[in-house]
């Protein structure tokens, strides 16, 4: 997804979940996912966590998660997911879904796209893509994420 570099007024970009990405979101290629680390036990969480779900500690520090990881497990989503799915639906584009292990010691549930299903395997290197998923009712571009093969 390329940023629109015209001088026209651009729709505001907002994260699909609060505190999920580094800001600003002007250049999505530079955007990373944010995380929280427990200063007591070292466990890492996606986005902003006020409390550690492992040790109940409340002393958390912010960190930026690596944009590279490996595929820990996966499946393929062949049918349009139920509910208010905002990816392409006409036609629906099947995608892989997986847990992506990052060097910080966390596995993130994510869509895995731009990949040949036959070549998807556990352990394959992946890279983060931050992209505009859809325009909301207020005209904002809602920014989400997926991973793609690092070699592609």
């Amino acid at each position: 997804m390329k940023p629109n570099e015209t001088t026209q007024k651009q729709p505001k970009r907002i994260p699909i979940r609060e505190d999920l990405f580094t800001t600003p979101l002007d250049d999505l290629g530079q955007a990373r996912m944010k995380g929280s680390r427990c200063k007591n036990c070292g466990e890492v969480f996606m986005g902003k966590a006020a409390t550690c779900a492992s040790c109940s500690g409340a002393d958390m520090e912010d960190l930026t998660l690596s944009n590279r990881g490996t595929l820990w497990t996966y499946t393929f989503i062949h049918y349009q997911p139920p509910g208010d799915y905002r990816g392409p639906t006409d036609p629906f584009v099947p995608f892989a879904e997986g847990l992506v292990e990052l060097p910080e010691g966390i596995r993130i549930l994510a869509p895995v796209k731009e990949c040949d299903f036959d070549k998807v395997r556990i352990g394959m290197p992946l890279v983060l893509v931050v992209h505009e998923l859809f325009q909301d009712g207020d005209g904002n571009q809602v920014v989400a994420f997926y991973f793609r093969p690092a070699s592609a």
Partner: protein, 381 residues
Amino acid sequence: MKKVAIVGVGLHPFGRFGDKTFQQIGQEAVRMALKDANITWPDIQIAYLSSQYLPSTAAGRVLKPLGETGISLVDVEAACASGGVAVRQAIQAIQSEYCDLALAVGVEKMPRGFMDPMANFEQWQVYMGLSTNPSYWAMTARRHMHDYGTTELQLAKVAYKNHKNSVDNPYSMYQKEFRIEEIMASPIVCDPIHLFEICAPNEGAGAIVLCPWEKAHKYNSKPIAVEACVHTVAMYSSDFRVPIESMSARITNPGPTEAASEKAYKAAGIGPEDLDLVELQDTDSFCELMLYEELGFCKVGESGKLIDDGVTEKNGKLPVNVSGGLISKGEPVGASHLGQIAEIVWQLRGQAGKRQIPDAKVGLAHVLGARGNCAVTILKK
């Protein structure tokens, strides 16, 4: 702790029943359980109703028409383990000497097709397409296959066994045997899980009447003892088969089934080797294999061999899901654990007809669902 007995069981078949209301479905199961215990509704002193998809005050809606006696009618919900919580609460009501006769009833009438993702997922996950429920089970299966060499054929064998068992169960939704080839050729729901290897949401109800053990013979000549009834919710980073956004790569805690069954075995003073039959949460065929390991029937990674060796078949050393399991009965979420308990009670009383396991003395019922809600109940003749 005061010993508690089951003195009455009732079951409404699991399936699809058109315009029949959840009230009618639930009341049928309750009437059957009351009759089985030789009592009438006004004898019941407290009732717990489990469901996940019924409207607020479902307990009142189902039970008040039987007689507005003014007793406490309590709704409970814990995803697929809801029924376990209803039973656990009823037991505690008796153990605390609040009452002598308690009812636990599970009732469900679910929408068709995939469950509403908003029931279990966050809005942003639904937007991104991360809310396909079977995908979590499929990913667990994929990782197990990678780590231990579990095969798609072994998954299919579980579905084959359970569908075959259900042929003799009039309470089951499908009651139809499928060939292994048919199972493996059925549409992929979520790779590697096929359509005939996964349970369907549906409708049904189950009910049990409980009382103190020392009074049980007054109501039923074949009371069944509840040796343990445990409910747990998954510990941190113990199970990603629940809607999650991420999990730890540094810590692995015991899964909810391992945690709940360990407590249940301890309370009952038995081990897995003492069980004569098991009804467990076969949401999908892989789930059953994983549970063989978490319930201690075999070592981690060896569940594929267990199904290959026929250990869990109806005439095997430890029959699992002789009722047909959720794969063939379907899963009316709030009612499923009560259905498992009804099956085990009939088996222990020697009333299971063609499904009867000879001389069954001890049975275990297990459910597991969203957020890692898990319940394990152990029953003894």
